[in-house]
Subunit: 187 residues, 2 copies
DNA sequence: TAAAAGTTTGCAGCCGCTGCAAACCTGGCC
DNA sequence: GGCCAGGTTTGCAGCGGCTGCAAACTTTTA
């Protein structure tokens, strides 16, 4: 993974072949594919920082906490983990940013987490899994998290990732309508 | 596109080669690639129903309309277009559903529209393009729209796509916190 | 020290995708 | 009809991603 990221960062993803990567990592190309199903996987396919299931984590939050803060709480361990490997993730996100074709792959990776979130939200709200709300909530949470992460990686200000996610989740909680108040605040 | 969709629907995407598709469409494989950059493109890559830019459409909505309804208004033409080609889109979405690898591709397709939405929201709210809010709003709108579409394609009830999108946008407007009221409503 | 179990590698081969140049239309003009 | 200019379609050669299989190698265990 390190070799793949370094090369992709240096010369751009399309100028890096699996042969290059495996050569830099001192293994045969065949071995590369023993560990990664895809070239892209070498860039994004690290083991997800996942302990207990989303469902369990979300239900572990006291029932009187509203949904969005509960979701934030449920993923806070992941956020901390990302910040612990800050440099690694910043490199990874820079590579994603400069190779837009990877963004969908990132989305795909988030998808299994998203499926878990559907179940988790359904469990917590008591709605059926097939309902619009849990599905919508899950994709929105995923989208908000991704946006916050990209922003964290891009913005020069050394803002805390947790802060950015909390801000994004704040918008999620109160809705787009009320959370563009900068407009009126300015007057 | 029709041949590709039919074959993918019949036997699953991984069992369909470009050669199969081009054969079914009575052209050479090389010609296939003159029209589609990618095999997936033949499934999702139809011309996007896009007239004027998102920015112009959004600014065309009277200024006193709140953001979310304005966004809904701005994309209503696209929604109508999709419903006009109902059968085609239902087939397309069924294929996407049964070939999860296509979902990220769908996201990628929406991305250029999303970039436009960032600009549009920034223009309408007066915030800078680089701000968190326009970016967040754009991804959330995209995610909500996609979720509504998948639901429209899946649910047996013949609900209007416009209705579903409006419901999803409603959640977006009022926030996740307040829009799972089913919970309290039941009591 | 030898067998068992696991890892790495080479090889052959399919498929997606591309650049290039030849073949083939098509419509307009003498 | 014959010819030319434009565009479209095709074949071909070739790269790179990816896979199944079986041989070579390494490590563990008894």
């Amino acid at each position: 993974m390190a070799a793949a990221l370094r090369l992709a960062d240096e010369r751009g993803l399309e100028n890096v072949t699996v042969e290059n990567i495996s050569e830099a990592a001192d293994v045969s190309p065949r071995t590369f594919f023993n560990y990664f199903a895809t070239k892209d996987d070498a860039l994004l396919g690290g083991p997800l920082p996942h302990g207990p299931s989303m469902r369990d984590r979300l239900l572990a939050v006291p029932a009187d906490v509203p949904l969005v803060p509960a979701l934030l709480e449920a993923i806070s361990a992941d956020i901390a983990e990302i910040q612990r490997e800050r440099d690694f993730w910043l490199l990874r996100l820079r590579v994603i940013r400069s190779n837009p074709s990877l963004l969908p792959v990132l989305v795909a990776r988030g998808e299994c987490a998203e499926q878990e979130t559907v179940v988790a939200v359904a469990a917590r709200t008591g709605l059926p899994t097939g309902d619009l709300f849990p599905q919508l909530a899950a994709t929105l949470v995923g989208a908000a998290f991704r946006t916050a992460m990209m922003r964290w990686a891009t913005a020069g200000d050394g803002r805390d990732l947790y802060d950015l996610v909390r801000e994004a989740f704040g918008v999620l909680a109160t809705g787009l309508a009320t959370s563009a108040p900068t407009h009126e605040d300015i007057r």
